[in-house]
Symmetry: none
Subunit: 214 residues, 4 copies
DNA sequence: CATGAATGAGTCTTCATTCAT
DNA sequence: AATGAATGAAGACTCATTCAT
């Protein structure tokens, strides 16, 4: 974890290596102590670096946090892309892939969940966080809405129904995440994922095979 | 708003009045600035009180936060009780009442939502918060599970299906709340509530009339 | 200890009663916590009185401390007077009485010792304390010097020798007190007193009977 | 003295230099204002350093005080060692050296005296101070007792007499110190020292030459 | 690049004092 | 006389940031 060049005598390392190292340490500390309690000292100590480096590699604490959220988003994005690339062409397959991506074991860890909610807990008054996060979230939303559109029969309220379906799916996933973070003894990653898939099947019974090979 | 009419006209008020006043000011500031950024000065200024009162009426900042969360929980609880008392006897009616309570306009405000997520963003490493919150949440969970049980047909996996149904319902609501907080321009309280009710109907189609009188 | 009129419903009490009550509580707290740590709340709590009374009966915290030191001095003074009145007429008897007074069990308690040194620890920059204390101390010094004078044979350096004797006696007693406070397990009141008397006999062997009836 | 030449010209210095600097400033302030009144601001201003340094170089105010007492003790110890090394081999010479050390002009200054009594005024409820101070004091006590033992003739109560002699000598010195602090106009360092030596000669007349070369 | 000493604004908290009741 | 709510100045301590080395 982290990119440690040499264990003892740390030497000059390329900028990106240090940045990544600090971001990972930030994730660790935020997940452990939350936002309010995390100090740059915690971060540098975890990264086994000296006190001054943060402000050397980032403009400010805030910039480190932005980078951290960016990293997390990027990570999510690449997993998502990977699942989508591997998925079949039908909307049902694609939307299922999206959900499965959300619960992939690389991104749906306790540590990352804690950090996500720490960020969301601040999102309202930190528009910056929202902005970073939205870049990916909008794309995801569009994809979900597209899939729903393809599965929703034409009719009077088609567009309203599509919007509702998308909202429900996204809410389900977010709610499952919150539940995973707050009550890890109640569910785990796979159960929550299957709950979401179950709801999805209920919503579009005609588009899913009777039995899902879990 | 930061405008001090007089040098605060030293006025004496019973303990509970001041505590409530400070709690409301805390809610206001947390919703506006979040946890990490809220200082006691913000709180007392909002309450138009002097700096020292907080530590006079509460043991510490943390104690004020605990009391704030307690207040919010209590408020939710009483709305919840009220809805449940007014609901009909069938499980469908009861569970619908619970969901309607969650989106009642008294508790499902932007301000309170922000505070809830601020707390949840800290819940993991602040066991105290989790504890306060859980007292109510467990009761709510049991009620939901009971309703689901009554609506779930007997069968091989009945208990697993009940648990799943309860998880889904709770996740839906939480997810809707998160969505309401993060994207208030996408939904509003009533739309989200109806999304939840819609999902609920989908889950237990036999227990709900074809048309809901909204 | 202290003057409690009624246990439960404290009512109005004459000014002097309250003052004494507060002084005793101050002695108690100073001896227990020292100066820096003693707050008026400690005092009033110990006195079982409400928070506001101190400033009602004393002009300030400082005034309470002055009164406390005054009380202690007065107490010492009256014990001293009592011993001196009871003493025989010879200088040896008088000076022995003075020393015995210093180690009387009424004033030479752990609690009072602690308070005395707390005051002395502040004496240098609190001229007020020194002033209060000196009123008595000067009188005592004069008495000791007079006794020494009567026991010192005439000669070239008589006055210097008198002064030295007085200094030594006073230092001995003060040093013994300090020792009693710092190392209560090493000596006790009576041992220290006898050490002083022993030294005294050594200084003026001709004026003391061979054997002291301890 | 409160005169800041430049905005403190951020100069870097090794840890030990700063610590010493802060300790000296603490001694200065404690001697001037006492314990209760000394604030970190006084210390840093005297040291012409910024507010934050204390908590950078010491864990807390208390830790600074501990270090201050440790410094004073160490200083006393090294003077004491120096005198003892230079002293002749007889017990009389050694014990005289100890007393002379106690009144050496390096450690027996008004400033240091004030600090010592400030500490002793707190010793009772600050076991930490007592502990630091005792490390040296015990060693000193043992040396004094050893000297007394060698000068005390064998007999029925020899051990009791040795103990008494040691107590008397130590009390004398402490008492002389207190007197020096409280009444600097009455004695000075050298007079007090000679008082102690005089008493010592009186106690062991056989071991001292008739005339002391002062 | 990297270190860690130094800074100082800002936080929570304490507490003597005041004052409405 | 007494109470205890309220005030606000002041203290210790934290920490992001700067900068000499």
């Amino acid at each position: 974890m982290g990119v440690k060049t040499t264990p003892a005598k740390r030497r000059t390392a390329p900028r990106e290596v240090r940045r990544k190292q600090l971001i990972m340490a930030a994730i660790d500390s935020i997940s452990k102590r939350g936002f309010a309690e995390t100090t740059l000292r915690h971060v540098t100590e975890k990264a086994n670096l000296s006190h001054g480096v943060v402000n050397y590699h980032f403009d400010s604490k805030e910039a480190l946090y932005d980078a951290t959220l960016g990293f997390l988003t990027q990570e999510h994005y690449s997993v998502w892309t990977h699942y989508l690339d591997a998925a079949g062409p039908t909307p049902a397959e694609r939307i299922e892939a999206i959900i499965r991506a959300d619960f992939d074991k690389k991104i749906c860890t306790r540590k990352r969940l804690a950090v996500w909610f720490a960020f969301w807990g601040q999102a309202k008054y930190r528009p910056n966080y929202l902005k970073i996060h939205n870049r990916f979230d909008n794309e995801r939303h569009d994809e979900i809405a597209t899939c729903c559109a393809e599965m929703t029969p034409e009719g009077a309220n088609q567009s309203a129904e599509i919007a509702r379906a998308a909202r429900i799916i996204e809410s389900m996933v977010d709610g499952a995440w919150l539940c995973l973070m707050l009550y890890p003894e109640v569910t785990d990653r796979e159960v929550s994922r299957d709950d979401c898939l179950h709801t999805l099947r209920n919503m579009f019974p005609d588009h899913f095979p009777t039995k899902i090979s879990n």
